[in-house]
């Protein structure tokens, strides 16, 4: 078996999701190569070369890969696919965008968002917002798989793989990059943070996030998340959304504040180690998954919590 792991990065740093995808690849078993496609991102390729158990890093440096557009990136993956039995990428928004395109070009049915490897052709994945787990066996010759990063441990960094340049593939030229508006934050990245504090509709405004949630997050070194309702209302940016259709997180500690606990939200956080819920409605479904529930008005409880944390 030879496995290609497509790296996740924004040209500057290699995302931890790549290390976790390598672990999934190790569980499938075989020689593992990592593809780093981007623009001026040799440090990313160097970081990938350090991941334990990697045979080599394929480095494609070209302007057409700068913004991770699906059409050229899928074409590149397809151009390399002959050498591999399985192609994996983390189920980040880039993975979700690019991999099904590559899969269809290879006439393969992708296995999305796996949380476990049962055999080289058999995987477990959540369906129905995580309310059921499906074990599927792929009958395709080649496997194309996206990996739920939170379900796998990060591979270590004691390797020293070689870095090989690869030629860019023909760019189909179907789309072009216009702009990117990225959320700037000093806080840890949601999916990688050890502690996450999320606010729901009950927060009522951005100002309340700023006044009540952010100071606690900063004291705890936590990332800030939100329910869909809070994002839809414009309190916080879209990439704060935790849930079935947002980000999946599994921190040591997840604090849900003013969130009712709809199944779509639970889908994104119920694998957290310890869950705390603060809600003024003692019947709120979030309490059914919370290890510690506090029935209280958040406008009173959060300032107290901030104080108690010193």
């Amino acid at each position: 078996m030879a496995i290609l792991v497509v790296a996740d990065h924004h040209n500057e740093a290699l995302s931890d999701a790549t290390h976790k995808t390598v672990t999934a690849a190790q569980q499938i078993g075989g020689d593992i190569d990592i593809l780093v496609a981007g623009k001026d991102c040799r440090p990313v390729a160097e970081a990938a070369a350090k991941i334990a158990g990697v045979r080599k890093v394929l480095y494609a440096d070209d302007a057409r890969y700068e913004h991770r557009l699906a059409e050229p990136l899928a074409a590149l993956i397809v151009s390399l696919a002959d050498d591999y039995d399985a192609i994996l990428k983390a189920a980040t928004t880039t993975g979700k965008n690019v991999m099904p395109r590559a899969a269809a070009l290879l006439d393969v049915m992708q296995v999305s968002d796996i949380i476990a490897v049962e055999a080289p052709d058999t995987f477990v994945r959540p369906i129905y917002a995580g309310n059921a787990l499906q074990t599927v066996k792929s009958t395709d010759k080649k496997k194309v798989v996206t990996v739920r990063a939170t379900a796998f441990k990060a591979a270590e960094e004691n390797g020293s793989a070689s870095i090989e340049d690869v030629q860019p593939a023909d760019d189909p030229g179907l789309s072009s990059f216009v702009k990117e508006e990225l959320t700037k934050s000093e806080r840890p990245e949601l999916t990688a943070a050890k502690i996450v504090i999320s606010g729901g509709r009950a927060l009522g405004s951005y100002e309340n996030f700023e006044k009540l949630i952010f100071p606690i997050a900063d004291k705890l070194g936590a990332a800030v998340g939100a329910s869909r309702a809070a994002v839809d209302a414009g309190y916080v940016p879209n990439d704060y959304q935790v849930g079935q259709t947002g980000k999946v997180v599994a921190p040591e500690l997840y604090i849900a504040v003013g969130i009712s606990g709809a199944i779509q939200h639970l889908a994104g956080m119920k694998d957290s180690k310890v869950i705390v819920a603060i809600n003024k409605d003692e019947e709120a479904p979030i309490f059914q998954v919370a290890d510690y529930g506090l029935v209280a008005d958040l406008f009173k409880a959060l300032p107290e919590l901030n104080e108690a944390l010193g």
Partner: protein, 249 residues
């Protein structure tokens, strides 16, 4: 422009699904079924484009059971013009659906396909990307804004770090995210009118497409259940437990 909108009949998002005891799947008997929420957003966007004069015709297609006509009728009541059901009782898989949709696109020749980013039953998030690949068209996934500009289409996409805007040549495939719009409820008169709108029913074999799945489902199981814990009375008690009992602070 002519628009094609694929919609899927799925379990309603409010239903708490139950896994069958023989592990063959989830229990769909007597549960409420609806249009996939992301597809409702796709229909709404198409109707708005028609209202704005950017689009002239909207064709809605579903691949699914006889009953999926209900979802097509709902889309017609929201403002789509014509429906097509490709009838199959079997569960569909994204690659098969994309292959069939490609054949339909070749017949209907739309300028833009707008569809959901994800079906909330299989949670695959693949079909739109696959359709774009098979057609050799560009893709704008997870759209929170769609604008026609100088013969191309600008799509603002919800990505992990924030928002990305790409420009796509037409024809193209766009998939919807939650914040693209808020779908309307169809009015009673429009529901009545929708009953008279054309709805064709066909068979996958009419397109020469084989929907045979590539993934074999070995079993469907219940996820490990999380037990609710304890209620604490005060913030001080909470902090104490997190520090001394859970050891996470």
């Amino acid at each position: 422009m002519k628009l094609l909108v694929p919609v899927k009949r799925v379990i309603d998002y409010n239903v708490k699904v139950r896994v069958k005891s023989d592990q063959s799947g989830v229990d769909l008997a007597n549960v409420k079924m609806s249009m996939n929420p992301f597809d409702e957003i796709a229909v709404e966007e198409a109707v708005r484009m028609k209202e704005a004069g950017t689009a002239q015709e909207i064709v809605v297609v579903s691949i699914g059971p006889e009953k999926a006509q209900d979802q097509i009728r709902q889309a017609l009541a929201m403002g789509a013009d014509r429906g097509l059901l490709v009838k199959t009782e079997a569960e569909t898989e994204p690659l098969g659906v994309a292959t069939l949709l490609k054949a339909i696109v070749e017949e209907e020749k739309p300028d833009l396909v707008i569809m959901g980013k994800q079906a909330i039953d299989d949670d695959c998030n693949q079909t739109g990307q696959m359709l774009a690949a098979l057609l050799g068209w560009p893709q704008g996934t997870f759209a929170s804004k769609i604008e026609k500009k100088d013969g191309e289409i600008h799509v603002t996409r919800e990505i992990d770090g924030g928002l990305q805007t790409v420009s796509l040549k037409l024809p193209a495939v766009v998939t919807t995210d939650l914040r693209l719009n808020e779908p309307r409820y169809a009015s009673l008169p429009n529901i009545m009118k929708a009953k008279k709108k054309p709805l064709d029913v066909k068979d996958p074999s009419d397109y020469g497409v084989d929907l045979k799945p590539r993934l074999e489902v070995l079993k469907v199981t219940e996820p490990p259940k999380r037990e609710g814990g304890v209620k604490v009375e005060t913030v001080a008690e909470l902090v104490d437990k997190l520090k001394n009992e859970a050891g996470v602070l």
